[in-house]
Symmetry: C2
Subunit: 351 residues, 2 copies
Amino acid sequence: MGSLKMANPTSRDIAEIAGVSQATVSRALRNSPLVRKETRDRIQEIAKELNYFVNRNAAGLRTHQSNTIALLLFDETGGADAQINPFFLSMLGYISRAAARRGYDVLISLQQLSDDWHVEYQASHRADGLILLGYGNYVTYREKLAALSAANTRYVIWGPVIKDHPGHTIGCDNENGGFQAARHLLSLGRKRIAFLGQTSPRSPEFSARYAGYMQALLAANVHPDPGLKVDADNLEELGYQAVEQLLAAGESFDAVFAVTDVIAIGAVRALLNAGIRVPEDVSVVGFDDMPLAAHVTPALTTVRQDIRLAADGLVDAIVGLIEERPVESTLMAPKLVVRESCGAKKGVRHK
Amino acid sequence: MGSLKMANPTSRDIAEIAGVSQATVSRALRNSPLVRKETRDRIQEIAKELNYFVNRNAAGLRTHQSNTIALLLFDETGGADAQINPFFLSMLGYISRAAARRGYDVLISLQQLSDDWHVEYQASHRADGLILLGYGNYVTYREKLAALSAANTRYVIWGPVIKDHPGHTIGCDNENGGFQAARHLLSLGRKRIAFLGQTSPRSPEFSARYAGYMQALLAANVHPDPGLKVDADNLEELGYQAVEQLLAAGESFDAVFAVTDVIAIGAVRALLNAGIRVPEDVSVVGFDDMPLAAHVTPALTTVRQDIRLAADGLVDAIVGLIEERPVESTLMAPKLVVRESCGAKKGVRHK
DNA sequence: CTGAAAGCGCTTACAG
DNA sequence: CTGAAAGCGCTTACAG
């Protein structure tokens, strides 16, 4: 069969070589049982030899499908320079793998919440559906979501499952996670547990974690001290500053529950820096279990959100919507991961 | 002008509403000066009101362009479960931003080096070009790249700039980086500097870092001790094991140069675990300056690859190839970032 | 400055 | 089991 080479072969070229119609080539390449096995094999072999691949634009134009999912990552950093939250970044990896397994490509896009992203991806037929990722400001968020829904865009959100919120959500049971974190600290004998994180209504996930924390305190008859609650957005530097602030205010505390690992890592740095030992003097627990949580020193005790499962769930959901199967919002169970920063494992420095 | 709403408007719908031909609509939407300003504005307004977006499949089919870049990330982890190297993951963020600035979408795909990815993305018209990212095994890599070139696929690699390597490469001057790291350790009075990393020909980047390290030793008349060189692939656990191995062999050393931050973090953990102080007893320097390098304790001294610049360079290069401008391979200068783990800054724990 | 027309490369009823 | 034909929604010479 020598050298069947050409620049940009089309199904028509293959038809000519195979001595069949272009329609038959199209069927054969999609493995249609309508085409006789023999013919099918021959055609596929020719396609392979020619390094032929179906033109996705043509196929997409015909079928109105792109087999692509757009992944929108909200950039909390205000754009420009800063790093994206590594937690979401690593989720992206799992999403991409899960999508590939189901035959979907993934288009990524970093977005400002303020951007006018809502409909374009699907309306332009670049994607069949959207996955939205990021700790959003749910107040502004909400109208955008409503606009998406109004435009019949298919989308799934990673975030808090909020009653009568538009769209489908896959999220973590943040309240339970916060509860587990605080209960664990209490079980270690800690009573003055500082809370670091933003709890305004624009951050319902963090608010839920706070609610869980409060529940645990109340269940243990520990009176919460408002002086131990410090607002902090999700940046390492702000975790650092939050602890500095507590120290400057002369607050005494024997534990810190930070609403994300990023904040927790900043908090630990500030504590060590002030000559306060972690976990001997102050226990620290984070939230997320991002990749490096296990590798900082002391290794961070944290509440794990299983991002692998989350990614699978998000992809399942969006593919479900695309293929018009019924989809439900889901709440996933978080899990406390005990490492060194809380002091529960005395003298054990690695698993 | 009330409610102009319809399910999936096309340029033809707009033409009808505007009372012009479909061709004029197409021109107007692409801002062609051929269309009278007035008409153009009117058409664009209608499009906006209808929430119309050009069907990318149709446009792509016509123009043979996708305005999309495929980002192929090589998965060193062997697939399945593991985390992707955070260094590359965060590069992805910058690439996506740079591409957006130039009007390109980014399609991501995690790949095994063994996969048959070489041509499909461009041949199927899903992408106009590829960016390849990851510490590849350059022996197997090479044939794949040759295949890409043979298929006239446009691609740019992040990696070592190797003479007569196929394709265009944007990379870091790894040799110089290794030199800076070792020279810095030597300047601190360290003489027995362990080297942790894989230096086989399949990892030319790491080999180059090793070469720089050797140069620095020789320039300082320090005789390199082969017992202080330990092979380690790019995983935290392997950095940990490498140090364990040195200790078990009874080697004495006062510094560690790890060929990546990930390995360095594992090394630090092993040292602390063995009761060896960092940096008092052993100085540690890594390579990459990944996001968390600054936030582990002690903060990691490392050789920074400016990933922002790298990302811009990669996108510039691939867009250049796509738009048929001449493109050259580039070597970027790395920069030593001094933090705590080397001991140069006594008593200073944060910037 | 505008329109009529061709054609990009597929998929899929429809007919046999 | 196979083919002829229509048509997806654009862009862009070509003609005026």
